[in-house]
């Protein structure tokens, strides 16, 4: 894929013209060669289909009436020259590639770009600014944040300096969407007050909105729900133009199971919808967990819609809510962008059946995360005779082979139950199975993967009991 990208990079100036055809073959290039224009190429990519340039789904900002593309570009994962994500690597960002991604996105209707002074180790705003400044200012919306997490930036001057710096980096004289970044993080309410209230920064931002340098003011929320509730309670005072929340089909009803501090998106979205505040969606893929799912879950998603990627389900879930202004996706690679464009241009909203199906999928996902055991046996011998890796590997094997019943109401439940239990007895003698773990914790500090082995043993034991007792789940 890297070669293809470089190849494209050469004729970058031309590519806006032929972008519809040329880029569409990227994913098929390894098979067809880069055919460029012509009917031959069009036929050879027919399976994937062209990405239309004029089909993007837009939502209207109720305050300004502007049309915002339902796919928003998250700029926290710009690629580096080493083809990694700028979030994970200290390498130089690949500006040329970033320009290509931005050009391609804009050409296909994306007009919302979300960055922050903190992203890509502080390099995102500049790179985003460089790429966007090559386009007319009215062809895109910029969202950035006041990311004054560090106590050293809690002071009024430091915070305002950060704010002003964003203008410079982004090469703009107004910000379309300005966010208080991550309210509820850290210690929750005290941190929030220190960052935005005590230093008068929120008042400052409200004034900036009055002055027109901020067109829309909102906040993004993580963590302590009290801060979220407070800011919404004070909506009459602050008149939030939008709020950014974490929403995906797992967090919709099961946020606590992925992170103790999180709150169900159903509640968050409901609170916003009540007040008619547009929602901007972050983490639609739950940090990638909804695109990189177990084989059997992927198979079920694929079975339902052969033409849709695993990730597209998560995007459609987020995008189907009418109160959502845009769904952010941090796209490092052209393939991500193209796949997402296919999802959103235009959006095929979920049916109620689809939603129910995704809820089942969420439950299956939560139930069966594989355990990162690689059978190194450092934990062994267990003083109570358990075959720890044997137990974990059987569990993982069943998950990976898709032989794990995801619900007692599954069509193949009886078969899966039988296979799991018989396979369990075959893999591990009964006396060495998970129910014999007493939780002495001697194994825990031996595990290089930091697996909480006793907790996993308990989980597996509980699951086995569910199966044996035929309990509903």
């Amino acid at each position: 894929m890297k070669n293809d990208n470089n190849k494209k990079g050469i004729d970058r100036r031309e590519f806006l013209k032929r972008i519809g055809l040329g880029a569409a073959v990227v994913s098929a290039a390894s098979v067809t060669g880069c055919g460029g224009k012509g009917s031959g190429a069009a036929q050879s990519v027919a399976a994937a289909g062209d990405i239309p340039t004029d089909k993007m789904t837009y939502r209207t900002n109720p305050k300004t009436g502007e049309k915002v593309s339902l796919l928003g570009y998250g700029c926290m994962r710009w690629p580096t020259v080493g083809d990694e994500s700028g979030r994970d690597s200290a390498e130089e960002l690949d500006q040329e590639q970033i320009n290509r991604l931005v050009d391609f996105a804009i050409a296909h209707g994306v007009n919302y770009f979300d960055t922050s002074p903190a992203y890509c180790r502080g390099r995102s705003e500049r790179a985003t600014g460089v790429a966007l400044s090559r386009h007319p200012r009215d062809s895109y919306f910029i969202a950035t944040k006041l990311s004054n997490f560090a106590p050293s930036t809690w002071g009024r001057e430091a915070s305002i300096a950060m704010y002003r710096n964003s203008f410079k980096e982004l090469q703009v004289d107004y910000i379309d969407y300005m966010l208080l970044h991550g309210i509820g993080m850290g210690n929750g309410m005290p941190d929030f007050e220190a960052r935005y209230i005590d230093n008068g920064v929120l008042d400052f931002l409200l004034a900036e909105r009055e002055a027109g340098r901020i067109r829309n003011l909102g906040f993004s929320y993580h963590g302590d729900i009290a801060v979220f509730n407070r800011l919404l309670a004070e909506h009459d005072k602050y008149k939030w133009d939008f709020v950014q929340i974490q929403l995906n089909y797992v967090d919709w009803k099961h946020a606590k199971q992925t992170n103790e501090r999180n709150t169900d998106a159903e509640y968050l979205y409901g609170e916003l919808a009540k007040r008619n505040i547009p929602a901007i969606i972050m983490e639609p893929l739950l940090g990638g967990r909804l695109s990189n799912v177990h084989d059997h879950i992927a198979a079920k998603l694929r079975e339902r819609r052969h033409d849709m990627s695993v990730a597209s389900w998560a995007f459609r879930f987020a995008g189907s809510f009418p109160g959502v202004l845009t769904v952010l996706s941090g796209m490092t690679y052209m393939e991500h962008l193209q796949d997402n464009l296919r999802t959103f241009a235009p959006l095929d909203p979920l049916t109620d059946d689809d939603r129910e199906f995704l809820e089942e999928t969420a439950q299956a996902l939560l139930r069966y995360p594989t355990i990162p055991c690689n059978d190194c046996k450092y934990c062994m011998p267990c003083p109570f005779g358990l075959d720890i890796p044997g137990i974990l590997l059987h569990f993982n094997k069943c998950i990976n082979e898709g032989r794990m019943p995801s619900s007692s109401r599954d069509a193949g439940y009886a078969k899966a139950r039988r296979e799991f239990l018989i396979g369990y007895d075959r893999s591990v003698p009964r006396l060495r199975q998970a129910d014999h773990c007493i939780g002495c914790n001697q194994c825990v500090h031996h595990c290089p993967q930091s697996i909480n082995i006793p907790a996993q043993m308990r989980r597996i034991d509980h699951f086995v009991e569910d199966l044996k007792q035929g309990r509903e789940f």
Partner: protein, 497 residues
Amino acid sequence: MLRKIRILLAVVCFVSITLLFLDFTGTVHAWFGWLAKVQLLPAVLAGNAVIVAALALLTLLFGRVYCSVICPLGVMQDCVAWIGKRTKKNRYSYSPERKWLRYGMFVLFIAAMIAGVGSLVALLAPYSAYGRIASNLLAPLWAWGNNVLAYFAERADSYAFYSVDVWIKSLTTLIVAAVSFVVIAVLAWRNGRTWCNTVCPVGTLLGFLSRFSLLRPTIDTEKCNSCGLCARNCKASCIDSKNHKIDYSRCVACMDCIDKCHKGAISYSLRKKTVQQQEQPQPAAEPKNAGRRNFLTGMGMLAATSALRAQEKVVDGGLAVIADKKIPARQTPIVPPGARSLSNMASHCTGCQLCVSVCPNGVLRPSGGLMTLMQPESSYERGYCRPECTKCSEVCPTGAIRKITRAEKSSIQIGHAVWVESNCLPVTDGVYCGSCARHCPAGAITMIRYDADDPDAPRVPSVNVERCIGCGACENLCPARPFSAIYVEGHEQHRTI
């Protein structure tokens, strides 16, 4: 023809009942479970008047066909005798009824039942005697056969078969089963139905009725040439061919004599018509069919028994050795939920081993006690009485273990857990455990501080005996070996909590 029908029905019943004792998956019970429940003695003990009446009526109509078709021990003897007959033909002879032995045994049996000497009842009851033989001598072979299939299934990545443990549940019972098999088989080989007509209390009881049966084999003196062939082929030794008399109290209505008689002098006919018989002789004799021999060939497996050994579990390298659990000295034995009380068990159980055969958790085994010999009791070294399982209560034909539901089971207290401080790991090793509390399905165990003054003290179990149902999860999963630090004491009287 009648004989063939008898053999066909007998084979079907016999194979089905045998499968009840062999099948450990519970599938066969769904189909043929009723066959255990129509056995006479279990039906009497279960108070099943309908079945008892039906069997009485059956006997009054057709004679002791029960003994030839329904009773698995009777059919087993026929199988052995059939093999015996192949070595020496016309081997039987008439012998008069041994009344003192027959009625003596019957009185003894009734007395044992009334006195609640379960061991003697179990020893004499025919269905139980067969159950014991099937579950102790045949079931292990079946299980090993299954294990061989499971071995290959595992390698073929198939889940059609799974391996099961084969172990000696009670040495005494095994010996009793082996001895009863040898004794009954030798008697059958030599003299056919001797057991049924001298020892078996059910045979004696049905004999009272079969004297008056409506249909019966009758000798037509006009046709009879007193050759004695019928008597020499009567496994019940009940045909007095010289006097043309048949002792109907011993005749098991096997119809062999009808087939054997060259003159067609014996017919299965209404007792009233004995006089008319002279006018209308029935050509009852059928040409001898060689094919029938194949009928019972499959039964040859009965003879193929062998001594048993417990399968020792091979311990893998790299894993800590796990010592086997030992049975704690319980003051009161535990009987499974549904048994209601030790006395109900003792007075109803005939020791047929059906419950022991189907117990999937290795809990039930025959008792070794003198009074309760071969009756089931629970112990938890191999597994515990799991909350989802009510199999023993489903299969019991005698009402010794009454049918219960899962919900009922969860509230039937069959015993209570007792903590043994000196074995408990938090006490001996100072480690955190709580295995018993975690696995208690009744939530009857709380972990409390060993030393109330020390908040960091290791926690030890405290049993709420009001909530404990005695299932043995704690005892089975206790890491202390060979003796658990928590074990179950049985209750004489079960109660619902």
